[in-house]
Symmetry: C2
Subunit: 215 residues, 2 copies
DNA sequence: GGACTTATACTCGCGTACGAGTATTCGTAG
DNA sequence: CTACGAATACTCGTACGCGAGTATAAGTCC
């Protein structure tokens, strides 16, 4: 398998896509990206900006096209995207759109170690999550409404998607909570008992060792 | 703000939760986690295992309790979870369950840079994604059915959640595709034009600079 | 019994992420 | 006109992630 993305950080993709519009210096890229709210759509850490730009240059995806200087401020290097950079950005975008990745969310991870807490506490935690989730959904919905007025649909899709996913998550949690509240959840007593004694019966331990289905 | 998780890698949480059951050596932890399929629920890279265990020890969340040796194999250090480790694991789990994080998925990132490709190509890419997604949903559903027979519900929640999220994603993509196919998507021509000329009209550029609502 | 594969049990080192820090300049309120 | 906070424009160091490599031991097929 060939080398995967020469610069793996998604911030690099964001940088490439703004650099396509016109040559920029790093700080300007950051301002533009910030202004467009791209840090809501991507896991961006601004501390990585200069490292990422340097790496993009090293791999020939960006190239320096001189410096400019405003007043007495430090001089800034302007970067332009190369052909390779354009190709990389397009290819990367294609991959992101076409390939559903297997990247478990933190919540999923949380669910998978939930057994370490008792059922009553879990219920409280999930209640809290649902509450926050519902608040966020409301806020997102309002924000989207506001933006719909002034932006073409094309630029709203990622927000629409994020909202849809949050709603789906809220619905799932709500459903689970309903079961927990109604005491319908099967194995509640075993769970409670396990948590009190803090060691799981041997048969369960064996069962939990579910063999992965050969695939 | 105090230091966040002393060992941030989620693999650390997985390690702590198995070490709670009984003292283990690192390789055994890996086997148990693998056997339980935890690497489907968490973003685990096995290459990080020894680093993570060492860091957990350094921060007093695990402690070495001697070594054992089987036959002529290299000696292995046994680690036991400390009280601090137990607390950290519980606290971390609580946080994961109760706090809906803002971590954009790669697909969301993809959507947010989608404008760089033309609408026709995007349609093809999304079709491909939907197809793969539907296949995965089918596979997940079957796997879940199989596991339901032999495992208590408690251990299936994370799979149920993953399935629900995938179904929601598939539904969203399907809906979007329907719009694209029907030509209902507003601004399609502008999009196509922009992609052909490869530079976006100035008014759009301004608009795209959506100010973040203060909050 | 020798040659092959598979499982066991790690080690190493490169590259990178990114928080925290720094130095300068601009706006502005008194 | 000067003091102060905010914005500008970066730099640096450390710790961390993780792929790739390694070496031995145990099955296993002929």
């Amino acid at each position: 398998m060939a080398k995967r993305r020469p610069v793996a950080n998604l911030l690099a993709l964001a940088v490439l896509t703004v650099a396509v519009e016109r040559p920029m210096h790093p700080y300007e890229m950051a301002s533009v990206l910030r202004a467009r709210g791209k840090d809501d759509d991507m896991p961006i850490k601004w501390g990585s900006l200069y490292t990422v730009v340097r790496n993009l240059e090293k791999h020939g995806l960006l190239e320096a096209v001189g410096t400019d200087r405003q007043g007495a401020r430090p001089e800034r290097t302007l970067y332009r995207v190369t052909d390779a950079g354009r190709r990389e950005a397009a290819d990367w975008t294609r991959e992101l759109l076409s390939t559903p990745g297997r990247e478990p969310s933190p919540f999923e991870s949380g669910l998978s170690v939930m057994g370490g807490l008792g059922p009553d506490e879990v219920r409280d935690l999930l209640r809290r999550r649902l509450e926050l989730l519902e608040r966020q959904v409301e806020a997102d919905r309002r924000a989207l409404e506001r933006e719909r007025a002034e932006l073409p649909r094309l630029f709203l899709l990622e927000s629409e998607y994020a909202l849809a996913m949050r709603e789906a998550q809220a619905a799932w949690v709500r459903e689970l909570l309903k079961e927990l509240d109604a005491g319908e959840f099967p194995g509640l007593d075993a769970w409670r008992a396990y948590h009190r004694t803090c060691d799981l019966p041997a048969d369960l331990a064996d069962l939990a060792e579910r063999g992965r289905p050969a695939q």
